[in-house]
Amino acid sequence: MKKGFGSIVLDASFRVLVPFTLVYGVYVLVHGEYSPGGGFQAGALLAVGIILSRLIQGNEKALFNIKGNVALILAGIGTALYALIGFSTIFLGGKFLEYGRLPFSVHDPAELHALGMLGIEIGVTLCVMMTIVAIFDALTGEEEGI
């Protein structure tokens, strides 16, 4: 996809669509405990925003251009964030992923669980978004061989 589609209609309309998609993705992520949503769906939505701009504008001049190699590193960091939150509860004296021991001071133990879950969902979102971008790059890029 070096050149992209690039017609005038697509070029004008995607600039309206993509910001809404990204904001909707973040909304779905944060509302994971109140309504259907959560990390995986938010990651897919955010990836759609990035892929749409790359499809229309081509590989070089796209907004939010993240190469496939960097995407793999960021995907690993996203899931490592999840595992590190789980690990930190081991160091603070509890079992793996025991949210009750996270070092934030809130009044309600249920709120502490909600904060912990928000943390791991952010890690999952980053991982899924970068994985989908990496798959897209593997399918449409020209590889030098791996």
Partner: protein
């Protein structure tokens, strides 16, 4: 007839979808079509799990108002499990597509008998 439609018809449909998927993997020649049939098969398994959580007259499992009797809400556990299964399906499709791109570059096409013929030359 009515109890058949509300009771067992959905299971028969899911079984037909699963068997269509397996038949598609076995009988197609084109590797891309095999991949799509595999996706259909995985979706059939996911829908089977979701059926297990339905209740007659149940609604979304979100606490609305002060009604807390269990019979009003469908079982949310199969939905949570199937979220993981959908992600597994996505990853498998991603790996398979990357492998297909590799095969297309090295062998020039993705029809299975042509690939096997070229591999054994």
């Amino acid at each position: 007839m009515d109890s058949f439609i509300t009771g067992s018809l959905i299971y028969w449909l899911v079984a037909a979808l699963f068997l269509l998927g397996v038949y598609g993997i076995l009988a197609n020649n084109n590797l891309m079509k095999k991949l799509m049939a595999m996706n259909i098969m995985q979706v059939a398994v996911i829908v089977f799990f979701l059926i297990l959580g339905q209740k007659l007259g149940g609604t979304l499992p979100i606490l609305m108002g002060s009604d807390t009797t269990v019979d009003h809400y469908i079982n949310p556990l199969p939905h949570a499990l199937m979220l993981t299964a959908i992600v597994v399906s996505l990853s498998t499709t991603g790996v398979a597509l990357a492998l297909l791109m590799r095969i297309q570059e090295r062998y020039g096409e993705i029809e299975e008998d042509d690939i096997l013929r070229r591999m054994n030359e």
